[in-house]
C-alpha cells in the first residue's frame, strides 16, 4: 500500500469540533454536600448530648458501662457511660448520660436505684432483668432545683414520690418481724407499707416510717393507735388462753394494724409525719385508751406466788387495772416481811362503776371516792383466777365486816388497804396445821428425850475421863515451858556479852546461880500448889459423881418424871389419832367445813 510508505500531509488532519458554553463546575456540589452532611452530623451529636449525671452506689452489681439503661416508668431516658470506683473506695460512681428530652426529670429529690431481680419475704420483683440485664430505675422528684449528682438507693423505694397518701412516724420498742414493705392494715385491709426503719440514736427504740395510701390516710387521727399485728399472739394468764391474729398475711410476714378509737370529740386527722407509738399488741394499745392512770400500792402479808405482773385488778368481774410491780418489803422495826404490789388503776372505769350505782352526774374526785369506798369496807385481796395454773389476781370488793382501815395518802404511791385471805386460804392453812401436828409428836419428842439422856451420859463419861490426864499433862507442859524458857535465858546472855568477855562470864555465872535459885524456888513453891489443885479437882469429881447418882435415880424407869412424860406422850398420840380422823373426814367431805358434819342416816 502506498499510504504506508509515505507520511501523510499533517496539514490535512481534521480539526476537532470545539464545543462552547459547556461549563461543568457542578462537581463542586459534592464537597458542599459533604460539608453539609459533616456539619449536620456534628450539630446532631452536639444537640443529642443530654446532661451527664453521676450516681453513687455502694456496689456496681449489675451496672455495666454502655449497656445499663436508665429507665423512668420503664421508658429509657439514658444510658450508663462509665462505672468507676470512688477515690476513697467506699462506693461506685456511675456516670450516665440522660437524653435531652428527659433532663427535666433530674431534680434535687430524684431517686435512682438498681432494678435487679429481688426475692424478699413478701415480694418477688424485677424478674425481667434476669433476661434483659439490670437497669437503673428513676423516680422523678418534685423539687424545682435541678441537680446532676445523686446518691443511689440500695433498694427500690417502696412508695413513689407522687403516690397519694401520707407518711407517718412510729416509735416502737422492738421491730419484731417487721421489715421494709411490711403491710399496714386498717380493719384488715392493707392500706400502706413500712417505708424504712432505723434504730434510735440512743439505741433504746426503733423509729419506723410508714406510708398510708390515700384515701385511707384520712383514718389516721391524732389519737390513732398503732400496734404490731405480727404473727400469732398467744397468751395464757389469769384470764385463760387467748389467741389473737390479724390476717394470714400478717401471721406469715408481720405487719402493723391501726385503729382510731371512737370518740365524740372527733379528733382531727393527723398531719403528715405525725409521730405515734407502736404498741406490742392490740391489748396494750387499747389499755392506753385510759388516759388517766393512777398508781396504788397494796401490801399483802401472804404469799403472792402466782401473781404476775400484768395480772388484772378485778372489780366484781370487770377489769379496772393491772399489776405493774411486785416488791418485797422488809420492815426493820416490826421485823415483818410483806409484799407490796403496785397496781395501776384506771379510775375512769371506776367512775363508770360508781356512777351507775350512785346515779351521780358528776364524777367524784378519786381521793374522795376512794375514801368513802374504803370506809364502807372497800378492800383488795388476792384470789385464785385459775385452779389449773394457780394464777392469782387482785380483786377489789366491799367487805362490810372488815377491820376499819383507810387509804394512806401519805405514801407515794398511796397505799390501798388489803384484806387477807378468803375461805380458800383458810382451808389451806388449816390443812397445813393438821399436817404439822401429824408430823410433830411421837418421833420428835421421844427422840428428843432419848437424845437428852444420851448426851448427859456422854457428858459424864467425858468428865470422868477428863481430869487426871489433862491436869498432869498440864503440869508437865508447864515444867517443859519452864525448861524452854530457861534454855532461852541461857541462850540470850551468850550473844549479848560477846563484846565484853569478862563481864559476860561474871554475869553468866551470876545468872546461872540465879537460875539455880529460881529452879529451887520453883521446886519448892509451885509443886505443892499443883498437888493441892489436883486434890481440888478430885473433890469436884466426887461432887459430880454424887450429882450423877441423883440424876440416875430421877431418870430411872419408875421415876415419877418419866411416868409423867409417858402419859403426856400417850395423850399426844391420842390427839394425833383424832386429828387424823378429822383430816380423813375433811378429805372425804370438804364441804363439811362450811355445812357442818352430816347427820347419820
Amino acid at each position: 500500500m502506498s499510504d504506508t510508505d509515505q507520511l501523510p500531509d499533517f496539514s490535512q488532519i481534521p480539526d476537532a469540533i470545539v464545543e462552547r458554553g459547556r461549563f461543568s463546575q457542578l462537581v463542586w456540589i459534592i464537597p458542599i454536600i459533604a460539608a453539609i452532611i459533616g456539619a449536620s452530623l456534628a450539630v446532631k451529636s452536639y444537640l443529642d448530648r443530654g446532661p451527664v449525671i453521676t450516681i453513687t452506689f455502694k456496689s456496681g452489681e449489675g451496672i455495666e458501662a454502655g449497656q445499663t439503661q436508665i429507665k423512668y416508668k420503664n421508658v429509657q431516658i439514658g444510658e450508663v457511660k462509665a462505672v468507676t470506683i470512688a477515690k476513697d473506695r467506699s462506693h461506685v460512681l456511675v456516670t450516665a448520660e440522660i437524653l435531652r428530652d428527659a433532663a427535666w426529670l433530674l431534680m434535687e429529690d430524684t431517686r435512682f436505684w438498681v432494678v435487679r431481680a429481688r426475692i424478699s419475704r413478701n415480694s418477688i420483683s424485677g424478674l425481667g432483668t434476669l433476661m434483659e440485664g439490670s437497669y437503673i430505675g428513676v423516680d422523678a422528684g418534685t423539687s424545682k432545683q435541678s441537680q446532676d449528682e445523686f446518691k443511689g438507693l440500695e433498694r427500690p423505694p417502696v412508695i413513689a414520690i407522687n403516690e397519694p397518701g401520707r407518711p407517718f412516724v412510729l416509735h416502737a420498742r422492738e421491730i419484731g418481724s417487721l421489715d421494709v414493705t411490711s403491710p399496714i392494715f386498717y380493719r384488715s385491709i392493707q392500706v400502706g407499707e413500712v417505708i424504712s426503719y432505723e434504730l434510735d440514736k440512743d439505741g433504746k427504740g426503733v423509729t419506723l416510717k410508714v406510708f398510708i395510701r390515700s384515701p385511707y390516710d384520712q383514718y389516721v387521727k391524732a389519737n390513732t393507735l398503732f400496734w404490731h399485728a405480727s404473727g400469732v399472739d398467744f397468751t395464757l394468764d389469769a384470764n385463760g388462753v387467748k389467741i389473737n391474729t390479724e390476717s394470714m398475711v400478717s401471721i406469715l410476714l408481720g405487719g402493723i394494724a391501726f385503729l382510731s378509737p371512737e370518740d365524740p370529740g372527733k379528733a382531727q386527722p393527723a398531719g403528715p409525719n405525725s409521730t405515734f407509738t407502736l404498741f406490742a399488741n392490740k391489748d396494750e394499745a387499747m389499755k392506753r385508751l385510759d388516759a388517766v392512770v393512777e398508781t396504788y400500792v397494796l401490801v399483802f402479808k401472804e404469799s403472792v406466788r402466782g401473781l404476775l405482773i400484768g395480772a388484772p385488778v378485778d372489780l366484781r368481774g370487770v377489769t379496772v387495772g393491772e399489776v405493774t410491780k411486785i416488791n418485797l418489803d422488809l420492815d426493820p422495826r416490826n421485823k415483818e416481811i410483806s409484799m407490796s404490789v403496785e397496781v395501776q388503776l384506771y379510775p375512769e372505769r371506776l367512775w363508770a362503776q360508781y356512777r351507775s350505782k350512785s346515779q351521780q352526774g358528776k364524777p367524784m374526785d378519786s381521793r374522795q371516792l376512794l375514801n368513802t369506798l374504803v370506809k364502807q369496807g372497800f378492800r383488795a385481796h388476792l384470789r385464785s383466777g385459775n385452779l389449773l395454773t394457780g394464777q392469782l389476781y387482785v380483786a377489789l370488793n366491799l367487805f362490810p365486816e372488815a377491820m376499819p382501815s383507810k387509804m394512806d395518802w401519805s405514801k407515794n404511791p398511796p397505799e390501798f388497804p388489803t384484806i387477807t385471805s378468803s375461805m380458800e386460804q383458810f382451808q389451806t392453812t388449816l390443812m397445813k396445821i393438821v399436817q404439822k401436828i401429824e408430823k410433830l409428836p411421837l418421833e420428835e419428842l421421844a427422840g428428843d428425850a432419848r437424845q437428852t439422856i444420851r448426851t448427859l451420859e456422854t457428858t459424864l463419861q467425858k468428865i470422868e475421863k477428863l481430869p487426871l490426864e489433862e491436869l498432869t499433862g498440864d503440869v508437865r507442859k508447864t515444867i517443859q515451858t519452864f525448861e524452854t524458857t530457861l534454855q532461852k535465858i541461857e541462850k540470850l546472855p551468850l550473844e549479848e556479852l560477846a563484846g565484853d568477855v569478862q563481864k559476860s562470864v561474871q554475869m553468866f555465872e551470876t545468872t546461872l546461880q540465879n537460875a539455880d535459885k529460881l529452879l529451887k524456888n520453883v521446886d519448892a513453891s509451885v509443886v505443892p500448889e499443883t498437888h493441892s489443885a489436883i486434890e481440888d479437882v478430885r473433890k469436884t469429881l466426887n461432887e459430880l459423881r454424887k450429882t450423877l447418882g441423883i440424876a440416875k435415880q430421877t431418870l430411872s424407869p419408875d421415876a415419877s418424871l418419866q411416868q409423867d412424860l409417858r402419859e403426856t406422850l400417850r395423850e399426844l398420840r391420842r390427839a394425833a389419832q383424832s386429828l387424823r380422823v378429822l383430816g380423813d373426814y375433811l378429805e372425804r367431805h370438804p364441804e363439811s367445813l362450811i355445812r357442818g358434819k352430816e347427820d347419820d342416816r
Binding site: 499533517f10 496539514s11 488532519i13 481534521p14 480539526d15 476537532a16 469540533i17 470545539v18 464545543e19 459547556r22 461543568s24 463546575q25 462537581v27 463542586w28 459534592i30 464537597p31 454536600i33 459533604a34 460539608a35 452532611i37 459533616g38 452530623l41 456534628a42 451529636s45 455495666e64 454502655g66 449497656q67
Partner: protein, 211 residues
C-alpha cells in the same frame, strides 16, 4: 543524536478514543468532539484538577466523621459495643488479634490517609506546574490506584457482619453512621483519583511544536 520528545499535545494533536481518528486540537483543555464519530475528544481530561480537588475536599470533610463516629454497633446478650475504626483496631489489638488489627489498621487508616495525602501532593504539584520528580510522582499515582480499593475492606466486613449477624436479642451487628462516612471517603478518593489526569504531571515538560 538526542531523542526528540514529542507529545501529541505538544504537536497540537489528539486522538478520538473511539474511532482513533487523529485530530488537531489547539485548545487542549476545551471540550470538543470527533468530526467522524462525534465522540467527545480531549487531549487532557477536562476540568481534571478542579473535579479532582472538589472530590478530594469532600473526602477530607467526610474523613472526620468517618473516624469519630462509630462504624459498627455490636450488641450481644452480654455486651454492647460501639466501635469507631480506631477503637476497633485497639480492641482487636488488646484481645490478641494482632494480625487482624494490623490489616485493619493498614487498610482502614493508613491507606485512606495515604490516598488523601498523595492526591493532595499530586494536585498541588500539578497546579504549580512543578517539574519536580515527574517519574516518582507517576509511580505514586500508580501505587495509589493499585492500593486504593483495599480500603473498602472495612466496609465489606461491616456489611457482611450486619447482614449475617442478626439474631435478635442474642447478637446484633449494625453499621454505624461512621461506616457510611467512611465508605463515602473511599468512594470519593477513588473518584478523585479517577478524575486525575497523570499526563498533567508531564505537561510542564512539554515543548510546543507547530506542524
Amino acid at each position: 543524536m538526542r531523542q526528540v520528545e514529542l507529545t501529541a499535545a505538544g504537536l497540537g494533536l489528539c486522538s478520538c478514543h473511539v474511532c482513533g481518528l487523529v485530530l488537531r486540537s489547539d485548545k487542549a483543555y476545551n471540550p470538543a468532539h470527533c468530526p467522524r464519530c462525534h465522540t467527545r475528544v480531549h487531549s487532557r481530561k477536562p476540568n481534571s484538577v478542579s473535579h479532582c480537588s472538589a472530590l478530594l475536599i469532600a473526602a477530607y470533610i467526610l474523613y472526620i466523621p468517618a473516624n469519630l463516629l462509630p462504624i459498627m454497633e455490636t450488641s450481644s446478650l452480654f455486651s454492647y459495643r460501639e466501635d469507631t475504626i480506631m477503637s476497633g483496631v485497639l480492641h482487636l489489638w488488646e484481645t490478641g488479634f494482632w494480625g487482624i488489627a494490623a490489616i485493619v489498621f493498614v487498610a482502614s487508616i493508613i491507606v485512606p490517609l495515604f490516598k488523601l495525602l498523595a492526591l493532595t501532593l499530586l494536585l498541588v504539584s500539578v497546579q504549580r506546574r512543578s517539574t519536580w520528580w515527574p517519574m516518582q510522582r507517576t509511580r505514586l499515582y500508580r501505587l495509589m490506584e493499585l492500593v486504593g480499593r483495599w480500603s473498602m475492606l472495612d466496609i465489606y466486613v461491616v456489611t457482611l457482619l450486619a447482614a449475617l449477624v442478626q439474631i435478635r436479642s442474642l447478637a446484633t451487628v449494625k453499621a454505624g453512621a461512621g461506616a457510611i462516612a467512611f465508605g463515602a471517603v473511599v468512594v470519593l478518593t477513588m473518584m478523585s483519583a479517577m478524575n486525575f489526569d497523570p499526563r498533567l504531571i508531564w505537561d510542564p515538560l512539554r515543548k510546543e511544536y507547530k506542524l
